[in-house]
Amino acid sequence: MTTTDKILVSIETLEALYFLLKSFQAHCVRLSMIRASFLATSENQQEITSRISQRD
């Protein structure tokens, strides 16, 4: 499992725990933002890496 996968699973675990512990409302926006910003950064990085490797 890659670090990216682990991060996504951890976010899903946190969402599940907060949901079951009735604290979802207080955390879901933060977790969604972490997920979205992480994915965006990750995708940008992958795109850059991919372009660099294509150029090389």
């Binding site: 682990k6 991060i7 675990t13 599940a16 725990l17 907060y18 949901f19 409302q25 992480f38």
Partner: protein
């Protein structure tokens, strides 16, 4: 490289957060089980429910951090979840609580239609008609409430003391016939007088409902009235040579129904106190069902109840 370092830092922070939450709520299950529950709940068009039994046995051993009253909530009660809203629903569903609220609502409607007029002939025909409708419904609701209460009591005892129950008590609480491997329904009056005895015995307490006046009111006059409404009939009773069920049905009045409701509350209070429950936490008081920590919630759509229960023994 920078991203990798940032990712590792983020992963570390998330892992720490998970560890902290797990410690705070005394999480029992593996992380994957929580994710699976959330995924299942997300697939539901209706709400999802987790019983206290399931939560205590499989998920968290300190759920009182979520509901302060957790130790006083009945094991069969269901915590309500809904993934379609960001709001955390703080509802616990207890069927007997819902039925109790039905009684309160219908009784208030009865009193409204009654208008404090003692002679029914002085009441407006429309009010009288509505009053009779509400009263008939209150009577059946009172018995639904008592039956739900007793069945909840039996279910909890069955689940919590399954290994210690002798076969007779096991079958009585499970409404089961172990010899024939089939359902054997228990008559209402038997539940009324026997279930508290069996449950008390399993919990090391001696309970004797035979001395409870309210139990006798429910078992005799109350039950006759309930039977007349549940199984309406023009049948002539050979003993009295009268159409007894019609007699009960036409004779229903506000005072009688209020007395029946009082008897139901008194009976539940008696059993709960006898079982050593703190009346502040689980007794009907001042016309309020204290046992409920929140208003029961109902779902009109399909929903999932995650079960972790024992079923009656089946002999192969």
């Amino acid at each position: 490289m920078l991203l990798l370092r940032t990712s590792k830092k983020l992963l570390h922070e998330l892992a720490k957060e998970i560890k902290d939450i797990r410690a705070q709520a005394s999480a029992i299950a593996e992380d994957g089980e929580y994710r699976e529950l959330l995924a299942t709940a997300r697939k539901q068009s209706g709400r999802s429910y987790l019983s206290k039994l399931f939560i205590d046995a499989r998920l968290f051993s300190h759920y009182e951090r979520v509901f302060i009253r957790w130790p006083h909530i009945k094991p069969h009660a269901l915590v309500v979840f809904d993934t379609t809203t960001m709001e955390d629903l703080m509802y616990v569903l207890e069927v007997e609580g819902s039925l109790f609220n039905d009684i309160r609502l219908l009784l208030a409607k009865s009193q409204e239609a009654h208008k404090g007029i003692e002679n029914f002939r002085d009441r407006a025909p429309k009010d009288q008609k509505n009053l009779q409708t509400y009263l008939r419904t209150v009577v059946t609701a009172v018995f639904h409430f008592i039956e739900a209460y007793l069945n909840g009591l039996a279910y909890d005892c069955f689940q919590l003391h399954h290994g210690q129950l002798d076969i007779e008590d096991h079958d009585l609480l499970g409404e089961w016939d172990s010899d024939r491997n089939r359902t054997r329904y228990v008559p209402f009056n038997k539940k009324l007088f026997r279930y508290p005895v069996v449950v008390g015995r399993a919990e090391g307490k001696r309970i004797d409902p035979s001395g409870c006046k309210a139990a006798h009111i429910l078992a005799t006059d109350g039950k006759r009235l309930r039977d007349a409404l549940t199984h309406p009939s023009y049948y002539i009773d050979p003993k009295t040579q009268s159409q007894q069920k019609l007699h009960f049905m036409t004779g229903v009045n506000l005072l009688l129904v209020e007395q029946l409701f009082e008897a139901a509350k008194e009976y539940v209070g008696f059993v709960e106190s006898s079982l050593g429950k703190d009346p502040k936490h689980w007794v009907v008081q001042d016309n309020r069902f204290i046992g409920l920590c929140e208003t029961a919630s109902r779902s009109g759509q399909s929903s999932t109840i995650f079960l972790n229960h024992r079923t009656p023994k089946v002999r192969c």
